[in-house]
């Protein structure tokens, strides 16, 4: 039987320069949104595709929760080796926090019945670092976070993983399967999509699911299904470095003086 790996991905939002907060004070004005596939997801997708390419019958399914714009990120995943792409959305999912998204993903996993689930450690926009692991909690699946090495053979009931801890320390762990793993940057070297695979991906279908396909109700998602609600969003006052101005030569001379003073003082 084929091994199915489900990779949960997110289309993240970066902000354009000089962005503005929306009139209701609860989010940034969407005019300043720049969308892209989350950096961590490149690595978790690559990890799944690597397993597929190592041989055996493996299917890689990418799943995202998001509006139509997210199709672009799913196509990127298809171009990098995913076999199928699923986008889940319903207007009631607007305003979902990481816990509500986790509920949707958990329902998708019950539907797809994969053998392994990968998610990025965190998203580069809101960095909750909890969605994938919350999915495991809802499913009652084994889970491990911040994995930067995964040794696995098809059909195995256990795998060896390595967690990246703080301060340059790693830890080996043994985990039961099926499991949800949150994948850390650097676990592999993600590939670039080629022109050919980008073209092929453009022709592939993207499956679209809503609440009914997953037996969810509107109260499971959006603000109603969330563990938090945005009260206010604002641009913080930040400290600012003392900028060293002048010509290149002047700037370098000033910095050299700072360094020499430091070295003189520390001898």
């Amino acid at each position: 039987m084929a091994t199915k790996i489900l990779v949960a991905v997110k289309q993240v939002i970066a902000l354009d320069e000089d962005f503005e907060i929306r009139a209701d004070g609860k989010d940034v004005d969407a005019d300043f949104f720049l969308r892209d596939l989350n950096e961590w997801d490149d690595f978790s997708l690559e990890e799944a595709v690597k397993i597929k390419e190592a041989g055996g019958e493996v299917e890689v399914v990418v799943v995202t929760v998001g509006p139509e714009e997210a199709d672009e990120s799913l196509r990127k995943c298809l171009a990098k080796g995913a076999d199928r792409a699923v986008r889940i959305w319903d207007e009631t999912m607007e305003g979902s926090d990481s816990q509500a998204i986790a509920r949707v993903l958990a329902a998708a996993i019950k539907h797809e019945k994969p053998d392994l689930v990968f998610a990025g450690v965190q998203s580069s926009d809101h960095s909750f670092a909890s969605t994938g692991i919350a999915v495991a909690g809802l499913l009652g699946w084994p889970h491990a976070a911040v994995v930067n090495q995964f040794d696995f053979s098809l059909g195995a009931t256990q795998a060896v993983i390595r967690r990246e801890l703080e301060g340059g320390v790693l830890q080996m762990m043994n985990i039961d399967l099926p499991a949800v793993l949150s994948i850390q940057l650097g676990i592999n070297t993600p590939r670039y999509a080629s022109l050919r695979t980008i073209k092929q991906a453009a022709a592939k279908p993207i499956e679209s699911w809503g609440l009914s396909e997953l037996s969810l109700s509107a109260s499971d998602v959006g603000e109603a299904g969330s563990a938090s609600r945005v009260r206010r969003m604002y641009i913080p006052e930040k400290g600012r470095a003392q900028m060293i101005e002048g010509s290149l030569a002047e700037q370098a001379a000033k910095l050299a003086a700072i360094i020499k003073e430091f070295k003189g003082a520390s001898v």
Binding site: I133, G137, M173
Partner: protein, 319 residues
């Protein structure tokens, strides 16, 4: 629901300093919480940590004997869940750490608690908890509320609160942990390999390079500059992950702790939150970056906007 429960964290037999920061946070919120500050510690022999946890502000210490000496997410979640059930706190504080990444989301999902992570400010507004965290790559602050949630679980950023000191005379209670089948078995710890004998922890002057360097072929130029200035060459995560420099040279939160560093010259590093968090103890940070909007300029003491290649060459003429 009243009081605050703080989850102490330990690794390899040592309490992690962030535990004391969270106790201080809890102490500052005690009046708003309208109840005691309870510290819970989970482990094979949690009583070993009790004496050290008797710091200012602690009313009770709960020991939860379970699991092996090392963290596993299933045991930790079951134990913390038992502590929440026993004390019914309105607020639970957990360090925003790699261990917490492995279980906080599970607790929140299973308990249906109010939940936010990487929180750096906690307030009470008319009896309701309000937590502030960053959003959109830390470009904005987001205030979150937790309507209808009797228990709010927050993971709190390290190095925000000053660690609790002093002493207290708390009650100590041993609490039973329901048996749990742990699906993860912790194994050995591995230090990031010392590929080239560098000791980032001892370096006082570090020059680090980041993504702004653009290509691997430029590494030697920066190595020469570092040598000429007497700096230790370090790097940000993307450079180490690409294999351009050994992992032992990575600084920032997940890299080696650059604890002795006093002068940090960041070349072409825009400043991801994890990088800044790992370097903010350094007294003098100088950042050189082509992007005037780079986050690193908000923590640096001195900043230079410019091309790091040209600037590096010019700087080298002074040494």
């Amino acid at each position: 629901m009243s009081g605050i429960l703080v989850i102490a964290e330990h690794r390899r037999g040592e309490l992690r300093p962030v535990s004391f920061e969270l106790i201080a946070a809890a102490e500052s919120l005690k009046a708003a919480a309208g109840g005691p500050v309870t510290v819970a510690v989970v482990g094979q022999s949690p009583e070993a940590f009790v004496a050290a946890l008797k710091v200012s502000g602690v009313d009770e210490i709960i020991t939860l004997a379970a699991g092996s000496g090392d963290f596993d997410p299933d045991t930790q979640a079951a134990a913390v869940s038992a502590a929440i059930a026993a004390r019914s706190p309105s607020l639970v504080l957990i360090p925003h750490s790699v261990d917490a990444f492995g279980y906080a989301g599970v607790l929140a999902a299973q308990g249906g608690y109010g939940f936010a992570t990487d929180v750096f400010k906690i307030e009470s507004d008319s009896g309701a908890w309000v937590a502030t965290r960053g959003g959109y790559g830390q470009k904005v602050n987001v205030e979150l509320e937790f309507p209808g949630k009797a228990v709010v679980l927050l993971t709190v950023r390290a190095a925000v609160y000053k660690p609790a000191e002093g002493s207290s005379n708390p009650t100590v209670t041993a609490l039973a942990v329901p048996s749990v089948s742990a699906h993860v078995r912790p194994g050995e710890y591995v230090e990031v390999s010392q590929a080239d004998d560098v000791d980032m922890t001892a370096a006082e002057f570090i020059m680090s390079i980041g993504r702004g360097i653009g290509e691997e072929a430029r590494i030697p130029q920066f190595r020469e500059l570092a040598d000429a200035m007497g700096a230790t060459l370090g790097c940000s995560r993307p450079i180490a992950d690409s294999g351009w420099l050994p992992k032992s040279r990575q600084v920032g939160q997940s890299g080696k702790t650059a604890s002795a560093c006093k002068l940090y010259l960041a070349m072409g590093i825009s400043g991801a939150i994890q990088h800044l968090a790992g370097m903010k103890h350094v007294s003098t940070i100088v950042a050189v970056n082509a992007d005037p909007g780079a986050s690193i300029f908000s923590v640096a003491k001195y900043g230079i906007v410019g091309d790091i290649m040209e600037f590096g060459e010019e700087l080298k003429t002074h040494f």
